[in-house]
């Protein structure tokens, strides 16, 4: 920073450095992105983020689809102060941008989900350490994102990452990883191929180093739009790429990258389960409140999830209130969440890639009290997984790449479906909005995806249907010509009504679309035109 401010570094040379430290130049100002490894925070860290929002920004922060947080209005000269404040709670912004291995993401229910082989954060942390200031892989052809899930149910979107890792057990019962490589969204969306069905856990880093080395040497550098690993993998084919990695790996494996068991155990200890109480599966107080309080009951339907420990629940906090900005939280809200986590939730908070927060370990008997605290902080939206739980990029309001606004579209859709009973009747529906083809809002994998495009200076929105980021990953199909800013909300409503009219009992939007195909939806959207 001193070298930049003194003029010793010009912007051209400063850019890759500021990017590697999370500082972007946005439409209106610099933006600072802070790393939240695998989306895990404690109350002390959350309070520090709140303080930064209050002191250096405009009183709020924006949680991202990479489980990080962004501050949109810091002054460049104050960035070193912010970084110093972060360092006091062992946080930083290193490798949250730039052409390096980015902050590693993981299942936001890690350590609490009933269906996991192992807590994926243990190896996400192994990867984080290995990739931090990696001397060989800090100047890759393009950015590089790794996601890890510990369960068969994929909540980390591993099929659309540069590398996706799914923990599983082989026939002998040993834990390891299925390795997916070359998935991604952006202007060339691809569901990545599996290049290795089973990688022994102990050999993870040598295998990753082999993948990265092949990519660093052979990935395209002539065109930034063709530089992601997915383009390399697609151009040679998954099988050939797997063979190239295998050859490099055979030369690398068995070396000092294999972590000793004691070291893995040392890291695992940081992710040990908190001391759970032996509780009955049912809590009468909780059941009574659910019976008495209709709002609470409705919130429980969408925002509570099964916990591995009897008598506990995983609790999602929606950052998608009607009319709000998806992923935004005020300093006061961050502090409220930190306080609830400390009092009721073993001091653990998670950020989900769907831009919500999670309290992973709440006793059933405390759920009502936590809910009341959330409602008081304006965080009571009962819409997790519903049509108004929208993923949206910042869009033209903030981003200098965008072609169209995203946030106002998300707000208008959420307002149209503001009736919660209606949302609950519609059921699970993942709606994702991107303001340009770079697809930061993941529209390709939305059950309904919306892409902002520029047509002769006006904002238009192209709709895709049938995408999914889960273990059944698929890319959405373009349904037809794009809609204007004024018409796109009507179009979404038409799609939803078409589904409601045609669904079978218990069938989600995505399932209905997969059964029916695009025809009835197209008919409903374009018949009158």
């Amino acid at each position: 920073m001193a070298r930049r401010l003194s003029g010793d570094l010009d912007e051209d040379r400063f850019k890759p450095l500021r990017l590697m430290n999370g500082v972007y130049l946005q439409l209106h100002a610099y933006m600072l992105r802070v790393a939240i490894p695998y989306g895990t925070l404690d109350s002390r860290e959350m309070c520090r983020l709140a303080r930064i929002a209050r002191v250096y920004d405009r009183g709020y922060g924006h949680f991202t689809t990479r489980q990080n947080i962004q501050f949109n209005w810091p002054k460049l000269a104050e960035v070193p102060d912010i970084l110093a404040d972060l360092a006091e709670v062992e946080m930083h912004a290193i490798q949250t941008s730039g052409n390096c291995i980015r902050n590693v993401t993981a299942d936001h229910f890690a350590g609490a989900a009933a269906d996991e082989v192992e807590d994926p954060r243990i190896h996400a942390e192994v990867i984080r350490q290995w990739s931090t200031l990696h001397p060989e892989f800090s100047f890759l052809p393009r950015k590089f994102k790794i996601a890890v899930t510990g369960a068969a149910r994929d909540r980390a979107a591993i099929n659309v990452h540069d590398i996706g890792l799914q923990m599983l057990r082989n026939e002998a019962g040993e834990p390891g990883f299925r390795v997916v490589v070359g998935g991604g969204l952006g202007r060339t969306p691809i569901v990545g191929p599996t290049i290795r069905e089973f990688l022994p856990k102990a050999e993870l880093l040598s295998y990753l180093e082999a993948i990265l080395r092949v990519y660093n040497r052979l990935g395209r550098r002539d065109n930034p739009f063709k530089a992601r690993i997915k383009i390399l993998v697609a151009s040679v084919g998954g099988d050939v790429f797997a063979a190239m990695v295998e050859e490099e790996w055979q030369a690398l494996r068995g070396g000092s990258l294999d972590l000793p068991e004691e070291e893995v155990a040392r890291i695992a200890a940081y992710f040990a389960s908190p001391p759970f109480e032996a509780l009955p599966a049912q809590d009468t107080g909780f059941e009574a409140m659910r019976f008495e309080d209709r709002d609470f009951a409705r919130w429980c339907r969408t925002n509570l999830h099964a916990h591995k420990q009897q008598g506990y629940a995983i609790l999602s906090i929606s950052l998608k209130p009607v009319g709000g900005v998806p992923g935004d939280a005020t300093a006061e809200q961050m502090e409220a969440v930190a306080d609830l986590a400390e009092r009721y939730g073993q001091d653990e908070i998670r950020v989900s890639h769907e831009q919500n927060l999670v309290l992973p370990h709440i006793r059933l008997r405390d759920v009502h009290a936590v809910w009341q605290g959330l409602v008081a902080a304006g965080l009571g939206a009962a819409n997790i997984g519903l049509v108004s739980d929208i993923i949206s990029c910042p869009g033209l309001d903030y981003c200098n790449l965008a072609n169209a606004r995203s946030i106002p579209v998300a707000q208008r859709i959420a307002t149209r479906f503001a009736d919660l009973d209606r949302q609950h009747d519609i059921g699970e529906l993942k709606l994702k909005i991107s303001g340009c083809i770079n697809a930061c809002g993941h529209h390709h994998v939305g059950h309904i995806g919306i892409l902002g495009v520029d047509k002769k200076g006006s904002e238009f929105y192209q709709i895709t249907l049938g995408g999914s980021a889960g273990e059944d990953a698929s890319l959405g199909d373009i349904v037809g010509p794009a809609f204007s800013y004024d018409d796109v909300v009507d179009a979404v409503e038409t799609l939803v009504e078409t589904y409601v009219g045609l669904r079978e009992k218990g069938e989600r939007f995505l399932d209905a679309y997969r059964r029916l195909g695009p025809a009835p939806f197209k008919e409903a959207l374009y018949a009158g035109h």
């Binding site: 040379r13 290995w130 931090t132 200031l133 001397p135 890759l140 880093l205 080395r213 040497r217 000092s256």
Partner: protein, 175 residues
């Protein structure tokens, strides 16, 4: 152009010779890979002290066992964003056992020095007036001191954090 080597600014005594220029004119010529591949028999007979410049898309395995003939290998950084030569350097050191001098040439600044050192480079070219050269050298020392313990093994001798912990555990177990 001077180079930073072993923490000192030294005058470069190697000269890159374009393929068409005879090698007699300098005492320490650096040749292209294409020239080596085209004239290797003649060059071997002449028993010259040679340096080799590897283009950054070349596989070090292409030179194979003959790598040890070269007292110096130069790896290219056409822009400082182009990181291919870091992989080449580690392959040369760790896979091919190259023990000669590894030099980084091209667009390199202070923010690359630590990574270069970790990947097995011995020297980097620097450009500019006297003040700029002094700043580059100062930057080199800063870069070497900035990170006390790396997080992963590479081509240098710095033990990564995990192996330091392992040693500590072993020491505790032995006592």
């Amino acid at each position: 152009m001077p180079v930073i080597k072993d923490g000192q600014l030294v005058e470069d005594d190697w000269t890159f010779m374009p393929d068409s220029v005879p090698l007699d004119e300098v005492s320490r010529p650096v040749i292209s890979l294409a020239r080596w591949q085209g004239e290797s028999r003649a060059l071997r007979v002449r028993n010259l002290r040679l340096g080799l410049r590897l283009p950054n898309d070349a596989d070090p395995a292409a030179v194979g066992a003959e790598l040890h003939r070269f007292a110096l290998i130069e790896l290219e950084f056409p822009t400082f964003r182009d990181g291919r030569a870091y992989s080449q350097a580690r392959l040369l050191r760790e896979r091919h056992g190259y023990l000669g001098e590894l030099r980084a040439v091209g667009a390199i600044g202070r923010d690359q020095y630590f990574f270069l050192d970790r990947c097995g480079f011995d020297s980097v070219t620097v450009a500019g007036d006297e003040a700029e050269l002094a700043r580059a050298l100062e930057g080199w020392f800063e870069a070497m001191a900035e990170i006390s313990v790396p997080m992963q093994p590479a081509s240098d001798r710095r033990p990564p954090a995990s192996s330091l912990r392992e040693r500590r555990r072993a020491a505790a177990g032995a006592s």
